[in-house]
Amino acid sequence: MSDGEDVLGAAASWLAVGERVALATVVESWGSSPRPAGSRMAVSDRGRIAGSVSGGCVEGAVIEAARDCLAGGAAREMTFGVSDERAWAVGLPCGGRITVWVEAVV
């Protein structure tokens, strides 16, 4: 699913100037989660961010995982569900659920 914003193009341009880049991609989404499968976010080691994988609800946790991938961590699948306000856990207040694939470009 292309949503117009050229996240991969941004990632390629950051690589071209020597930054390291990780990509996060929505793999599955259920319920009222705001971004469809294929939605992407790119994160660079200098803190640049393009695109999104949710309405801003889980980006923080995904960016943290992306930084871990840039530090040599393995590519991984992350699942986010309904947020539990009492636990201060990252989640989706909309009641949806998403799975995100996070990987470094190597």
Partner: protein, 224 residues
């Protein structure tokens, strides 16, 4: 993701060539289809089905979970008439993911400075649209108010597979326009494709408001 895979994805997008990136979720191994020479059994067929439906998603193939990401080329909008409304429309459509080309034979209007982020063609619409290769992922909207410019654009658009064809103008001038296009050989079904006056009825008055109503109708034509 391998860097060469990312570069191949970017090149496919630039060439407006649809591809599918298949990721095996157990280990992150990736194949780009249909380019890959060898791939897991069943993957090519699954990728082709995803491409046809233009929907990314997970597929289970021989006990493995795969994510199939459809990378389809951006939809395009050809704006004919580099007028004030066109400036706002180019911005709205660009933000909504359209690759925008502004076409106008009048060099004073069709300038890069007036349309940052859009391609600008100082040319007559017939030749500019032919050069663009108007396909089923292309929208054409005529804004010049000048039949010498708008009519050839609509004539070309109606002979193409463009998914959205629209023209600005009052109901009266639209009726006159339909008469001229009928004289060029377009039948009732073809003429009914033209949204005229262009845009959703939101009571728009100013140039940016009219541009917003057209951008909204464009999104509706693509998604609804």
């Amino acid at each position: 993701m391998r860097r060469r895979v990312l570069e191949a994805l970017v090149a496919a997008r630039a060439a407006r060539r649809p591809v599918v990136l298949a990721t095996r979720l157990s280990d992150g191994a990736q194949w780009l289809l249909p380019d890959a020479a060898e791939e897991a059994a069943g993957l090519r067929e699954a990728a082709a089905a995803r491409l046809a439906g233009e929907a990314s998603g997970v597929a289970e193939i021989e006990g493995e979970r795969w994510f199939l990401a459809v990378e389809a080329p951006a939809p395009r909008l050809a704006i004919v008439g580099a007028v004030h409304i066109a400036q706002s429309l180019a911005g709205f459509a660009g933000a909504c993911g359209f690759a925008v080309t502004v076409i106008d034979p009048r060099a004073a209007f069709a300038t890069e400075a007036r349309f940052p982020g859009a391609a600008v063609a100082v040319a007559w619409p017939g030749e500019a649209l032919a050069a663009l290769g108007t396909d089923a992922r292309t929208a054409v909207v005529a804004l010049s108010h000048d039949p010498k410019i708008d009519d050839p654009a609509l004539d070309a658009a109606l002979r193409s597979e463009a998914f959205y064809v629209a023209a600005l103008g009052s109901r009266r001038s639209h009726a006159a326009r339909l008469e001229r296009l009928r004289a060029l050989g377009h039948g009732a079904a073809a003429l009914a494709r033209i949204r005229g006056p262009a845009g959703l009825a939101i009571g728009a008055k100013t140039a940016p408001e009219i541009a917003l109503s057209i951008a909204a109708q464009l999104v509706e034509a693509r998604r609804a």
